[in-house]
């Protein structure tokens, strides 16, 4: 009954579970445990609240016999000292055990590096055939497999949080932190930066896409394959280099090897553009190239209004074709 009441009270939060962006809609081992602990805490708090309310009522209007009992030394020692000590100690050790279990090593986790940068996420995979694959703002993981994120930051403190899959973990300058999680079922889980990091912090989101292991292996084995491009799209690729885009961005398999901004390899397959600022589309790519600072105020990529409309079309077509 208590749980039913809580669900009614927390309806708005639970409703957002459909977007896979809620700590109460757990889809991973770590998030489930955290959610369970949340419910236990909520239930305990509710019981304590009821007891305190009852005691207050007795103290004010109860029969003299009960009031005398309430004021006895025995009641104060049990309810005011023994009960909190026992409950809080149990909770403390439950929490400690849970955290230890969640951060303990597991055999053969999938390692993915994520570096927080103002204001996007640099994502790196080790490829099975050797070498690395760099992406940004979207992380693909296999369902059911333990994933270990190695978290660093390029500038200030960020916090890596995918509410439906795990708790949050800070990215701290000069240190490597790690977070383990696994997704229980396929889905798209939204993540955000949970530590204010300046400027467009609110536009520093990411997507985690959990897919079956076979699909994941297939995807990872193909990320190094260059896309097949039409004649017009190849012209866009030439423009990409001539306009200097490759000075900051990389696309694997091309001469573009800039490491200042996000890698654009397989850009067309990502759901969102500019760390959640816009849905991915050719039109939005063009908009972001020319009007980035208006779409994501404070963002570091300067506006390239210097490009002609034809150049812009060619460029965005080439980028959207990165699949």
């Amino acid at each position: 009954m208590m749980r039913g009441l809580a669900i009614v009270l927390l309806m708005p939060a639970v409703a957002s579970a459909q977007e896979q962006h809620s700590a109460l809609a757990a889809h991973g081992e770590a998030a489930s445990q955290i959610a369970a602990l949340t419910w236990v805490l909520f239930a305990l708090a509710a019981i304590v609240f009821a007891l305190v309310a009852a005691a207050t009522w007795i103290a004010l209007t109860g029969p003299p016999r009960l009031r005398a009992m309430l004021a006895s030394r025995q009641t104060i020692v049990i309810a005011g000292f023994v009960f909190p000590v026992v409950v809080l100690t149990v909770l403390l050790f439950t929490g400690l055990r849970m955290t230890a279990a969640l951060s303990s090593d597991v055999a053969n986790p999938l390692k993915i590096s994520v570096r927080g940068e103002q204001w996007w996420w640099r994502v790196g995979y080790a490829l099975p055939q050797g070498g690395r694959f760099e992406s940004a703002n979207e992380i693909r993981i296999p369902v059911g497999r333990a994933v270990r994120f190695e978290l660093t930051t390029a500038d200030v403190i960020h916090s890596f949080w995918i509410p439906s899959l795990a708790g949050k973990m800070d990215m701290i300058p000069g240190r490597v932190t790690s977070l383990r999680l696994s997704a229980e079922r396929p889905g798209i889980y939204r993540g955000i930066c949970a530590e204010y990091c300046g400027g467009p912090h609110a536009w520093m989101a990411l997507s985690v896409i959990a897919v079956p292991q076979a699909e994941f292996d297939d995807w990872l084995s193909k990320v190094a394959q260059p896309p097949s491009l039409s004649q017009a799209q190849r012209a866009g690729g030439e423009l990409f280099m001539r306009a200097g885009c490759g000075g900051c961005h990389s696309i694997s398999g091309t001469q573009a090897n800039g490491s200042i901004g996000p890698a654009l390899t397989k850009l067309g397959t990502r759901r969102m553009l500019a760390a959640g600022a816009l849905p991915m589309s050719e039109h939005n790519i063009a908009r972001f190239i020319t009007h980035g600072p208006e779409i994501k105020p404070g963002n570091k990529m300067p506006p390239f209004k210097i490009l002609s409309p034809a150049e812009l079309n060619s460029l965005s077509a080439y980028l959207m074709a990165q699949r």
Partner: protein, 367 residues
């Protein structure tokens, strides 16, 4: 006071002591009389009539004091660089002489009939200190026809003109001409539009004579056209280039641009300041990834878009000054500057000098 109604008359007598009455009457009557005088149109604004001597004295008195006071706190930078008066003279030769004239150059007769007529500036350095000339050139003077400097953010250009005016009294006609336009004989040049560019930027005869001026030889025509359009619109600030660029007849800009694009690139002289070419090369080819500075050559290499300027073989002194100016958002509001500003802001002065030296040494602009 008999014309006043009784009650007002009584108030007047009760409140204003007799010795103040005349003052009150004057205070009301004088402005009224002045207004009536202006309204009547009796005053003659004709430039042909000149001023009364006392008016002329009063105007000069106000102007002299105003300039001296406003310029009192201005610090004069070192003006002994010989490149400064060359640039200043080239600008003066076309922009200032219509009113002021110069050694061997008559002012425009029509403009000399303005009131006041613009003075011959050869006596200027005795009358004014350099900082005061700077203030006048930059701000202009009300009611005299002396215009303010178009690009208020370009103090460097104003000082170049001051450096020239400082040298002016010592110049006879041939030396003045040589300083302003070099060996050029404007009457011998068929294309007068190109002649306008040549006195500062050089041409088939050679490189710019002042190292404060960019080398245009071999630069892409598309970029030169864009730059001229940006100068003419005032988005790229320059009190020297804006009047020139906005004066070029439509259609002639592309022709000028093609002319310079077709000139054989030449290497500038070795810069005379401390630098480290290796550091410059590292920055130009690799950038500073950890400080969000991309390699210069990503956008300014030989294969870059035609609308991007080539940097190889650029005049190092101009290059360094230009790159530093990008840091100030007021100096340039073009679309290109929006891209360059964050980069220029991250480079130190030393890095900028290293880059200038590297590009000056790395061959010719263009392909």
């Amino acid at each position: 006071m008999r014309g006043l109604p009784d009650s007002l008359h009584k108030e007047w007598q009760r409140r204003i002591p007799p010795r103040w009455r005349i003052l009150v009457i004057v205070a009301i009557a004088a402005p009224l009389a002045a207004f009536l005088f202006a309204w009547s149109g009796i005053f003659n604004v004709a430039a042909s009539r000149g001023h009364f001597r006392i008016v002329e004295w009063a105007l000069a008195f106000v102007m002299n004091n105003s300039v001296e006071t406003h310029a009192a706190l201005i610090k004069e930078p070192p003006l002994d660089d010989p490149n400064l008066p060359i640039l200043g003279a080239s600008h003066f030769y076309t922009a200032c002489t219509p009113c002021h004239g110069g050694p061997g150059q008559q002012p425009n007769a029509t403009l000399q009939n303005a009131l006041p007529p613009a003075p011959d500036l050869r006596g200027t350095t005795e009358r004014w200190k350099n900082r005061e000339i700077y203030w006048i050139v930059k701000n202009g003077i009300k009611y005299t026809g002396m215009p303010a400097w178009i690009a208020q953010s370009r103090d460097d250009e104003v000082w170049a003109v001051v450096a020239f005016i400082d040298a002016l009294p010592k110049l006879d006609a041939p030396r003045y001409r040589e300083l302003a336009i070099g060996n050029l004989d404007p009457t011998a040049i068929e294309d007068l539009t190109i002649a306008k560019c040549v006195s500062c930027h050089g041409g088939s005869s050679g490189l710019p004579r002042s190292n404060l001026v960019p080398i245009l030889h071999g630069q892409s025509a598309a970029y030169l056209t864009l730059a001229m359009r940006e100068y003419a619109s005032g988005r790229r600030h320059s009190g020297i280039m804006q009047p020139v660029a906005s004066d070029v007849p439509p259609g002639a800009v592309e022709r000028l641009a093609r002319h310079y694009a077709g000139l054989r690139p030449r290497r500038p002289e070795t810069p005379g300041f401390l630098f480290n070419i290796r550091e410059g090369e590292q920055l130009a080819t690799k950038g500073m990834a950890n400080n969000a500075v991309p390699p210069c050559l990503a956008c300014h290499g030989p294969n870059a878009l035609e609308t991007y300027p080539r940097l190889a073989g650029q005049n190092p002194v101009y290059f360094a000054a230009r790159l530093k100016r990008y840091r100030d958002p007021k100096v340039d509001t073009t679309d290109g500057a929006a891209i360059m500003r964050p980069i220029a802001a991250k480079l130190t002065d030393q890095q900028i000098q290293d880059l200038a030296a590297y590009f000056a040494a790395s061959g010719s602009p263009g392909r």
